[in-house]
């Protein structure tokens, strides 16, 4: 069997294994039933980030000039646009889906393999969709909040979505292993570097980083499923 199938199966097996462990770490919070496990995983991820990932991302950010950073982000953004389009179509948003596929066509050719985002200038806006949002749009509730090893915050539904995102990731289908691994790494570091400014704000804002990130993530996902127009949640009347 090919490596993508192998990788996806290993991924699912890891998640199931974690599911067995999580049984013992339930808490009273309705929104975060496995809070004990999540906090532990968050602490682990934060440790790895501080020790390894963030220093590399900061170095990358310091060394590369902005136009190159933008080009890298655009390149990977173009690859992502393909399945963003597919997800929009799966959600019944035909014109958005068509626009995404249009982006891929224009940016790959005129935009030189996606390095230049020409399509945005032509009015083809970039969207953000993934299988988790598609499931949400189809009516699946989000399920418990889960912090995945290294990958960070998800919900049960979005983790299922992630499995599909991983399986449909075009980069994973590149046969030349060194190229594929380089692309995976550069994409991850580039994404992490793009988050450095936001992280500074979270650092300043949060009383408890874990719950701040959790609550922001859950609200953000809800907003993304509704494409920016979520119904306002009823507030506790004081």
């Amino acid at each position: 069997m090919n490596t993508v199938t192998m990788r996806t199966r290993t991924f699912i097996a890891t998640l199931l294994g974690m599911g067995l462990i999580t049984g013992c770490a339930t808490s009273g919070n309705a929104k975060d039933p496995i809070e004990g496990f999540n906090r532990a995983m968050y602490a682990f991820n934060d440790g790895v980030d501080k020790a390894v990932i963030k220093p590399v991302a900061k170095g990358y950010d310091a060394v590369l000039p902005n136009p190159v950073r933008t080009g890298v982000t655009n390149f990977f953004g173009n690859i992502a646009d393909l399945f963003i389009g597919v997800n929009n179509l799966l959600q019944g948003k035909v014109s958005d889906g068509g626009s995404d596929l249009g982006r891929v066509a224009v940016n790959t050719t005129v935009g030189v393999l996606g390095v230049f985002d020409v399509a945005s200038g032509m009015g083809l806006e970039k969207h953000e969709e993934d299988f988790g949002q598609t499931f949400g749009r189809w009516g699946m509730g989000s399920g418990a909040y889960v912090v995945l090893p290294l990958l960070g915050p998800r919900t049960v539904r979005d983790t299922g979505g992630l499995v599909l995102d991983v399986a449909t990731d075009p980069v994973a289908y590149i046969d030349h292993v060194p190229t594929r691994n380089t692309l995976f790494t550069v994409r991850a570091i580039n994404d992490r570097a793009n988050l450095l400014p936001a992280e500074k704000v979270v650092e300043e804002a949060a009383l408890d980083k874990y719950s701040y990130i959790r609550d922001a993530y859950l609200q953000r996902r809800r907003s993304m499923v509704y494409d920016g127009n979520p119904p306002r949640e009823a507030e506790d009347a004081p």
């Binding site: 009383l207 979520p230 506790d236």
Partner: protein, 208 residues
Amino acid sequence: MKSFFAFVSGLLMFSSVLAEGLAPDVLVKKISNEVLDIVRTDKDIQSGNTKKAVSLVEVKILPHFDFMHMTKLALGREWRQTTPAQQKALAAEFQTLLVRTYSKALTEYKNQTIEFKPFAMKPDATDVKVRTEVKQPGAAKPFQLDYYLDKSDAGWKVYDVEVGGISLVTTYRESFTTEIRNSGIDGLIKSLREKNQSGEPVVAGSKK
């Protein structure tokens, strides 16, 4: 005499407009543009001078926020258990926290521009949502920045801000509730105070 009369009635009309206050979307547009214009030309703020960003926030933005209202919403059900002294302390610490956070965000400014979304409200509305979108240079995606305002005697005041669908009040309400569950309302006040004092000193007289 005539011109004096015209002058005085002009002043009266002007001040009555001021007293009524600007419409909420006009207010948001005015303040957003004022703040961005300043940040755009201020190299100090752009290079991370949080003190200057805090002054900017305190002068331009603070007067248009109703922090007591925000604090009340962020406390949720727990507000009923608070004494007036605690309410004052909470609102003061929450305000400091938000000012610092907002200022930090401003120092990350990198040539963003704001698009003001179409706005409509009923003439007798007292609670509105003003929508804007922040566009960023390069490949960074635009994000939504929405303001919730309600009408008070002193004009329209902001009581919640949503960034990319993430509500400030809702997010803090979760943190506050957890903190109160762990260490009570006084414990929350203490945590906020410690957090405010532990960051970079941005006000005169802070320790360090």
